[in-house]
């Protein structure tokens, strides 16, 4: 967090800008992008695919801002980034293997997956 020094293109631009440090600018960027996120859904005229793109794009920017600067992965030894990324393999497996691979969703689950709620899973 606050005490970690980072040196890169982004830091060179923002750190010290208007007398404020990188954490302040990261905070401002997060707030502005959240505003985009909410506005994309609130204004009903925006096409669906554009809303999708905005939600995913804003999510990536915000995720990077929080993990790289607030959680100071950018200034810390690489081992912490590797630790944070380790579960990503499983996350991708879960999202792809469980979340997206079966278009039938819960109704396609084998019975042994839902021993206590077979009716719930099959008779929606």
């Amino acid at each position: 967090m606050g005490e970690h020094e980072t040196h890169g293109i982004i830091e060179n631009i923002f750190d010290g800008l208007l007398g404020k440090d990188i954490y302040f600018w990261n905070f401002i960027i997060l707030m502005v992008f959240t505003l985009f996120e909410v506005a994309a859904v609130f204004f009903t005229g925006i096409p669906l695919k554009a809303v999708w793109a905005i939600l995913i794009g804003v999510g990536i920017v915000k995720g990077y801002g929080i993990s790289a600067y607030f959680m100071h992965l950018k200034g810390d030894p690489r081992i912490y980034t590797r630790t944070a990324l380790f579960p990503v393999v499983f996350v991708i497996l879960m999202l792809w293997g469980i979340g997206l691979s079966n278009p039938e969703g819960v109704t396609g689950l084998p019975a042994w997956c839902t021993p206590l709620s077979a009716d719930y899973a099959t008779n929606r």
């Binding site: 967090m1 606050g2 005490e3 954490y23 302040f24 905070f27 997060l30 707030m31 959240t34 996120e37 909410v38 994309a40 859904v41 609130f42 009903t44 669906l48 809303v51 999708w52 939600l55 804003v58 999510g59 915000k62 995720g63 929080i66 993990s67 607030f70 959680m71 030894p77 081992i79 912490y80 590797r82 630790t83 944070a84 380790f86 579960p87 990503v88 499983f90 996350v91 879960m94 999202l95 469980i98 979340g99 997206l100 079966n102 278009p103 039938e104 969703g105 819960v106 109704t107 396609g108 719930y120 929606r124």
Partner: protein, 462 residues
Amino acid sequence: MSSGEAHVENSIWMRAVLMGSTFLVIGILAFATMGVGVANMRHHAYEEAVHEYDDAKHDYEEAKLSYENAKANNASTEEIEALKATKDALKDIKDDAHHHEVEAHLSYLTWRTAGITILLMCVTYASFIGLGGFVNSIQPEEDDSHGASSYGGDDHEHHGSASPIVFALGIMLFLMGFPEFQATLSDMLSGNEAELGGLGLSMFGLLVIVLGVSNWWREDLPFIGNGEQIATSAPFEGQHIRKAGLWVFIMSEIMVFATFFSSYLRMRTEWCTGWQVEAGNCEQVDMLTASDFLRPDGAELGGLGGQGDFMTLLPGAINTFALIVSSYTIVLALKTAKNANWEAPTGFMGKLMPTKKAAVRNYLLATLLLGSMFIVLKLIEWSHLVAEGFTIGTQAGSIFYISTGAHGLHVFIGLLVMLYLVFKADTVEFNEDNAQGIEYFGLYWHFVDLAWVVIFPAFYLY
């Protein structure tokens, strides 16, 4: 905990009891004003709105009957037209009255839920910090005659702590007894005969948790930063063990939230939601998601959903901003604590933060308030969703409440830890040597913020 500690007198712990009492007073006052005073007024307005709606509905149905009778009896065209105009006007009045009734109901729920939530949170805060402080204040005073540390004289040696194990045991006991605990509480709340013994195991678990936590605090409070344990082998060689442990913990938490998210995706790919219809993937909406109740153009099904507007989306949106601001305040708390050359700001901020000690404490307090606001707004939003028919009994509701509830629970647990940090900031004081506590807690708090970055668009906006 490690050694290298300052001596802390037992009397200091009584301030934790005072802090707990303050929270109790705040909770009671908030409940009395919001949960009883304002909520009762809103309930009165809601009852009036219900009567107005009933009257308007009655008038409309009579006008509709007159119109249909006139048509059936072949009345004159002018008479039928006049009756139709009256019926249409009364329908508008009825729809307006219904809208006002819903608004009045939600307004009542807002104040009632806010009052009850603040009371329950403050009672929990008071119990947690108050009991922990009380247990430590009645301990025998530690012998400080052998140097700074009361857990050993060597500043470079780790002496370990049993507190996390006691704490984990307490959680295990609490969860083992939880089904009966929950059933007994449900019986008590619904006025049924309840077996009080059903509360036993979980209450014992809570007691063990309090004892474990209070002992943990007792070990941590005097910590002045000397002797932080360093890992001596790969892959974290040379790193602080506590920090590495926290990252491994966060790693496991990422997996927990990934299970919720993948379950949600699996369910969601099957549903024909408003988004899927709009994308041309299916023809008729068969499932309403939370966003259908919250978004301005949410889908409708069976008279439900589609009621969202700016105000229904507002609590979730405010919460998103609140979490980001709270992430920044914790960064500021750490920055201030780590700054050896800190100078008091001028103007209004200078009055809020006249000393470094006050600045760190107030930044932490601001984080605590923002986190508490998050919980209150979340429960207000839940109460509205339930009132509008989006309950945990529906498929979309089950995954929504479990996922957002698990996140809310993480926020709440973070707030309990923050209580202790506020207490430590107010008594022992954080500085450039012992600020690790804020840094490591900050990592957890930022992770909770990060999880919300995924949950908010996925569950509230999409």
